[in-house]
Amino acid sequence: MVINVGSLGRSGLRDFVLQRVSAVVLGLYGLCITGFFATTPAMDHGALVGFMDSVTMKVFTTLAVVSLAMHAWVGMWTVGTDYIRRHYFGRGHTVYLAVYQLVCLGTIFVYVLWPLSVVWRLGGLAA
């Protein structure tokens, strides 16, 4: 069992399952959006707001955004622990890794809040 200072007590199996489940959600969401674009002859802002304004689409979009965030976090954490190593960065590599992880988490947090704030204010925007 490898215990790593940057692993934040995570489980490889949990990450593995998380990435696959989130990929399936994102795939389904992609199909849904593609289907909407393909079957809507006159695409404009009104049609898009009308489609996204239903509770079902808001919940589905929230699920997709959260899935994307989790997928990205597992991926970015993996990339970070591949490259930010003692071999390249010396003894202080854990500090660099912590900064990298904080930047990733912060960025992902913003990228979650931003689309969700748009989606859940859609009714207000349309009005």
Binding site: M1, V2, I3, N4, S7, R10, S11, G12, L13, D15, F16, V17, T78, T81, D82, Y83, R85
Partner: protein, 234 residues
């Protein structure tokens, strides 16, 4: 034939270098790369490499030939260098001791981690622990590994995390014991592999499958370990 060999002598204060050598090979014969190394050594006795059985059984002479890992003793020159120039380097990703000889300590440490022996706490029978033919069948494609390290040193995940990722050779052997009907430590073995590095650093690049001189498939074994972990986790 033009040959380029990686040279490094820790006793000399010089950086590693590639040495170009022109060698006359006997005509009409397709020598193995190990034969070429023997001819080189006859010219320059200072060149260092490992070898033993010279028939692909001991796994000592794993080297990198024109960018591809393999056993020098069973790799024909025509296959390693189809365009005529043969470039020989040590296995990548491990510290070089001298010339083509690498320090395999890290590789063996990972192998040791997977408890590469049968664990069975039940009282031993008078003669031996028996298996049904179909149980024995499950070990085919696993037990044949000769630990030459060609696969692990061709694996980018092993290059990045040689201290944490067990590597394809170790994981093939981990599954060899997980699949063994006589072994009773399945839960402990799986628990030891569940972290984010030991197994899950495999990205399915499949360099290991591509270079294995015995034609084994570590990626499939890693997939089966993941399935077992998943089954146990659910």
């Amino acid at each position: 034939m033009q040959i380029s060999v990686y040279r490094f002598d820790p006793d000399k204060d010089e950086p590693p270098r590639m040495e170009d050598v022109e060698l006359d090979l006997p005509e009409g014969r397709d020598l193995m790369v190990l034969d070429v190394l023997e001819l080189l050594k006859a010219q320059d006795p200072s060149i260092a490499y490992r070898r033993s059985c010279r028939e692909g059984v001991c796994g000592s002479d794993g080297i990198n030939m024109n960018g591809r890992n393999g056993l020098a003793c069973i790799t024909p020159v025509s296959e390693a260098a189809p365009r005529g120039k043969l470039t020989l380097r040590p296995l990548p990703g491990l510290p070089v001791v001298r010339d083509l000889v690498v320090d395999m300590s890290q590789f063996y440490r990972q192998y040791e981690k997977i408890t590469p022996w049968l664990v069975n706490d039940t009282p031993p029978p008078a003669q031996e622990r028996l298996q049904m033919p179909e149980e024995r069948e499950k070990l085919n494609g696993l037990y044949e590994c000769i630990l030459c390290a060609c696969c692990s040193t061709a694996c980018p995940s092993f290059w990045w995390n040689p201290d944490k990722f067990v590597g394809p050779a170790g994981l093939l052997q981990a599954y060899r014991f997980l699949a063994d009907s006589r072994d009773t430590a399945t839960a402990e073995r799986l628990a030891a592999l569940e972290d984010p590095f030991s197994v899950f650093r495999c990205r399915g690049i499949m360099n290991c499958v591509s270079v294995c001189p015995k034609g084994l498939n570590p990626t499939r074994a890693i997939g089966k370990i993941r399935t077992m972990l998943l089954s146990q986790g659910i």
